[in-house]
Amino acid sequence: MSAIVTETQFHVLAVDDSLIERKLIERLLKTSSYQVTAVDSGVKALEYLGLLDDEDTSPDSTPVSTTKTHHEVEVNLIITDYCMPGITGYDLLRKIKESTSLKDIPVVIMSSENVPSRINSCLEQGAEEFFLKPVRQSDVNKLRPHLMRTSGKRTEDHQPNKRKPMEECMLSPDRTRARYNDDLEL
């Protein structure tokens, strides 16, 4: 337990089937000095996270044990598009939250559509934030508190419950969860 706080970069897994969106989100994340892995589908994301191996397709599958070694690379946050062919962002979110090994990884959903019921169900399922596309720097700036909160091992004092003030993040009026109270984007 050294006194030096490691400057290891946070690693974000970005999931989006659109190449342009992936490029954009990757650039945004990199300007915040995050390490980025971008994949083009929910299935690839599950593969990367090691959830595909022994997970059956039953939606009621119980949390999978973590005995398998999937990656040495740690993922600190997952940001995913909602509308994707195959597994949607919502399905991905659910599978992550059902997994004992991965449920504490913060998940953020992005969508081009401002649908209150969609936003609600994602937040209820455990998504930390819901960003309306196109995602901007101001949205990406909101990720840091979530990353800091779950990175107990990066601080000297191992207090995973120690939080930085999160008020600004949760109550931000513009682009996230409060947004659905505004007029519809269209």
Binding site: S18, L19, I20, E21, K23, L24, R27, L28, T31, C83, S112, K133, P134, R136, Q137, L186
Partner: protein, 172 residues
């Protein structure tokens, strides 16, 4: 000074595109993401947009040409086009896509065909303008290379001082 002239014409042309509604604030965001370590970011994203759009427009043409029009499929293509145009700030293309999706919901084949023509037109317009804009920028870069980073510094300073260049859409 040549640098100033290029700077001015780049600004003028950007301003025009924002004013005419071809580009919205999202394009400014792309410009902000470009820097010395990623000097071609805007060009790369715009190029992807061109490729993507041309493919989608082609798919749409084929899909609407079928005996049995599959509106779900068409809607999926338009959704993609709406997404990518929105991501680069191609506002007018995006707006036509919104109308297009409504017509898909209504299963209005004729309306969809008209919309397709319209979206093709808007796409070609914005493509021409973006290409011109990027040429301006390219020329600017040539001078930049000759002036050892002067232009970039100039632009960065302007951006740092409040983003006057990229935020022109507020003047519309």
């Amino acid at each position: 000074m040549e640098v100033d002239q290029l700077q001015r014409s780049f600004v003028e042309y950007s301003r025009l595109l924002f004013h005419e509604g071809f580009l919205d604030g999202q394009f400014s965001q792309l410009q902000l993401l470009q820097d010395e370590s990623n000097p071609d970011f805007v060009l790369e994203v715009v190029s992807l947009f061109f490729e993507d759009s041309e493919r989608l427009l082609n798919d749409l043409t084929i899909a609407l040409d079928q005996q049995n029009v599959e509106f779900k499929k068409i809607d999926a293509h338009v959704h993609q086009l709406k997404g990518s145009s929105s991501s680069i700030g191609a506002q007018r293309v995006k707006n036509v896509c919104i109308a297009f999706r409504n017509l898909c919901d209504e299963q209005n084949a004729e309306g969809c065909l008209r919309c397709l023509q319209q979206v093709k037109q808007e796409y070609l317009l914005v493509k021409t303008k973006l290409e011109a804009l990027l040429r301006e920028r390219h020329d600017k870069r040539v001078v930049h290379d000759l002036n050892c980073g002067f232009i970039f510094q100039l632009e960065q300073q302007i951006v740092a001082a409040g983003g006057a260049i990229p935020m022109l859409n507020e003047f519309c």
